[in-house]
Symmetry: D2
Subunit: 296 residues, 4 copies
């Protein structure tokens, strides 16, 4: 019945939208933090997995609501909030290496969240080792874009595994675009989870998972919904109209995506926010102004 | 009844889709030319205008069907076909100056058809005047991107008028993105017309018209549909399902657009095709290889 | 004897470098303002013109010394200093329209200062007229990139004149790349002057002047040296070595330019600084944070 | 005596410029092939290494002389010539995997030869394995950009080694920017060699070598000179003037580079030529038109 509906957001799972009660094996709570709402969904066991179709773990979604840019200090507040949530999922000790991976295709705008985030990450691994007197208080951080199979001939997951094998980081943060089912969430929500990620699930086909099992280290996924399948949008609108569209041929609509008109700008802005949040989460005592100066 | 449905393609007008007969005051014919189909819609008089909601004039639509890129020589064939149709609408005499205007916003991918086409136009005005011995056989051609109101503070139409007043070209070709109502037409059709164009009708709000009345010279519009309004898509699909969605709140869907997944690449490819067609139409005896060499 | 030496900076004029005393008809003073040095050269009359090879007027050069980016608040301080100097040259009354023109070629990095500055200018003309209740306190500002003759077929000066004729601004600010003779000045100095500018003098050939005579309104030029002619560098180094290189064939060296290794980043950073300074100069009571928010 | 002179081209070695006879342990020959000249320098043994300052191996330099773009078919002819030379150095058997690595920094124009070449490489590894019926006649090829230490925190050589360890290709082709000592060679010559490469030697500091010893597979280096050190240019010009500039302080000149005015366009064009040559060398029976179609 739900077939055709596609979403990567735990908080959009059908079971959480429709049920009168939260399903067994799942905990979900939405709370306000300053100017923002945060929804935390925990999948506790196999029953929760079955109900939500997501693996056991924690999924945190920050809503960057519409007035984000309008309120003074909204950028800083959102970045620091995201940083707090990231730190809680990462459990990194002082001085441990973190690898940031930007998944997705830089040349396809709605798929460029990962690569554009990497552009805003403070890369410090070479500085902490070579100039310890100046950079000793920073965490060593490396960052790479995995590219996509179509342009490298290498699965993203293979490339990440090769790099993890060589660098042996203590944690991996993987940033990717996601698919959502609700247009109003596009480029306005960020989902964090400690369950890892399957590269390419946002735009294009699923590949092999990047998670603790496959990489041997904790993997925190950071995802931003940038598209709704045209078919998903239509199914949801039809359902709310009570229409029977079982006989409609979606044909070309399936090769189409729904995005905000200003997708280029939205992707750039959201990538910057995530990049800054990563920097604040990874280095102690850093402020937004410090990141400005480091990256400039 | 049609309210909410939005299209810039004459061949998609409701009157041509639904009527058993072509309305009075309109002529429409679809014919095969080599590997491609061309639809010519002529709005002959006020009755035709009322029926189609388009001003009197000729609208030629070339279908760059799916296998465009796959067939050997398809690029050359399509470019030459487009060039033939352009020449028929332009009526330029030898040596007369032509101004090519790229409308739209280069930074918003589906709105970048105009600016990217200008990148592929052979600009020769300064060469024909300064090096007549070498470039005497070329037509003088100038090309500008008008920018958009939001980034220049100047209406596109004002900017074009100012330049036309100074350069006094014999014709203007204005290239812009359009809105379509059928996903399968996106980046696969090119509409030419001798009625001019209203900048920004493809993405964003309508501005003042660019046509023979406002500019004092003939204006040929070249448009490519790159988006479908999310609301338009939904209305059309619902109608084909016989659903009553009059009570549905489209809300966020209205701020959304539907585009092909590969919109970045599609816009680049189509802009190149149009640019080459313009070059072939404007300069006598030119071949695709000559354009390659000139632009490289 | 100096033939072959090329510079667009008044402060680098041979007469100011070599003379024991400042030539008659010229006033020149260098003073510290906060963390920066400012040199003001005034060409007072025909004797000054002859001595310096620059038209009568004021030339203000701000030295953005090496530690610019390292000092806290250096960006704000430099932007505000530049804004002060700009205001002193502009003499605009409240509510008068200003047109900002980015000269040069965006696709040639050392020539992209003008276009990249325009990207950082707050364009408000359409907002002040349409939303006076919200934007009434802003000055109306328009901004265009003139393109270059090779890609538009239109002289920059013709294009600017056409737009000025239509918009009738109270002043024009023209931003362009310059040539310097000292490598250490590249991307580290900004020259303002009230004498206008000759587009393309930085990279490529000189075109017609943009100044009060040709445009009918005051023209303030903002220039940044981004290149040294390879031939100029060599002549200067040879001179300081006392070498006679009169017989050397510079040949290919003449088609070459000397730029900083990090020219891409330097151009981006300097363009941002100038853009912000323009905004502070044009709108009363604005702070750097306000510009951040407006442009984001 | 040569100190300060920097070049990565074997054919520019001082020993080959000055000596009346080619040094012992070296073989060098320059011959015309169609419209182009090819210089082959072979370093045969330790004496040759000492004389040229380059490791034992073969260095082939193709001169893409000035009229390259002007002659009809020059692009195809140059691409095929380069492909022939590449095949002779590669010794790949049918069906063996080749990894193409783009070294350097895409965001610094003269260092972007490697990444831009990768954009023109036909990536086929995933196609040959998944669609053998359609792509069985193609060689499996993967391609990655290594990024640079400053933006990834990972040595290029470490990243390449990690990928080679996982993919186990039969050969690696590494493409990078080089430094030259003669301005007229910039973006007009391509050097191939079977001795591998030290990433970053063109712009910035030398890193660890990529060669058969470090990677365990043959490494063919493809390099294009894009810069001359400002100091090198000056030293050479001064030498030809017989000037003693031993006391001159090069100071800032050392942080500067000399490049062609049109470096952006030149890098793009040369990268395309190399990309096409790689494709012709790696896949049997391919023509330039086939590459056009594959990449479009």
């Amino acid at each position: 019945m739900n077939s055709g509906i596609r979403t990567d957001l735990a908080m959009e799972a059908e079971a959480l939208r429709q049920a009168d009660a939260i399903p067994s094996g799942v905990r979900a709570v939405r709370q306000r933090r300053g100017s923002f709402y945060i929804t935390t969904v925990e999948v506790l066991n196999a029953r929760g997995e079955a109900a939500l179709g997501k693996p056991v773990g924690t999924y945190v979604t920050l809503e960057l609501d519409a007035y984000l840019r309008r309120e003074e200090n909204a950028f800083s507040e959102a970045a620091e909030l995201l940083a707090d949530e990231l730190r809680a999922l990462l459990h990194l000790n002082r001085g441990e290496l973190c690898l940031v991976v930007g998944l997705g295709n830089r040349d396809i705008t709605p798929d460029a969240i990962g690569p554009e985030t990497v552009d805003c990450v403070m890369v410090t691994r070479h500085l902490t080792s070579r100039l310890p007197e100046a950079f000793g208080s920073f965490r060593p951080v490396s960052a790479v874009c995995s590219g996509v199979l179509g342009t490298t001939g290498i699965e993203s997951s293979d490339l990440v595994r090769a790099i993890v094998d060589r660098l042996r980081p203590s944690a991996v943060i993987a940033v990717d675009a996601l698919a959502s089912r609700e247009p109003q969430r596009l480029c306005r929500t960020v989902q964090l989870s400690d369950t890892g990620i399957i590269p390419g699930s946002g735009v294009g086909n699923a590949r092999q998972a990047l998670n603790r099992e496959t990489l041997g280290v904790p993997v925190v996924a950071v995802g931003v919904p940038t598209v709704v399948d045209a078919a998903t949008l239509t199914l949801d609108l039809a359902a709310s109209a009570g229409a029977d569209i079982s006989g409609v041929d979606f044909g070309e609509a399936c090769a189409m995506i729904v995005t905000p008109r200003e997708i280029d700008k939205n992707v750039r802005d959201t990538a910057k926010l995530i990049g800054y949040a990563l920097n604040l989460a990874l280095h102690d005592g850093l402020r937004v102004e410090d990141v400005d100066m480091f990256l400039s």
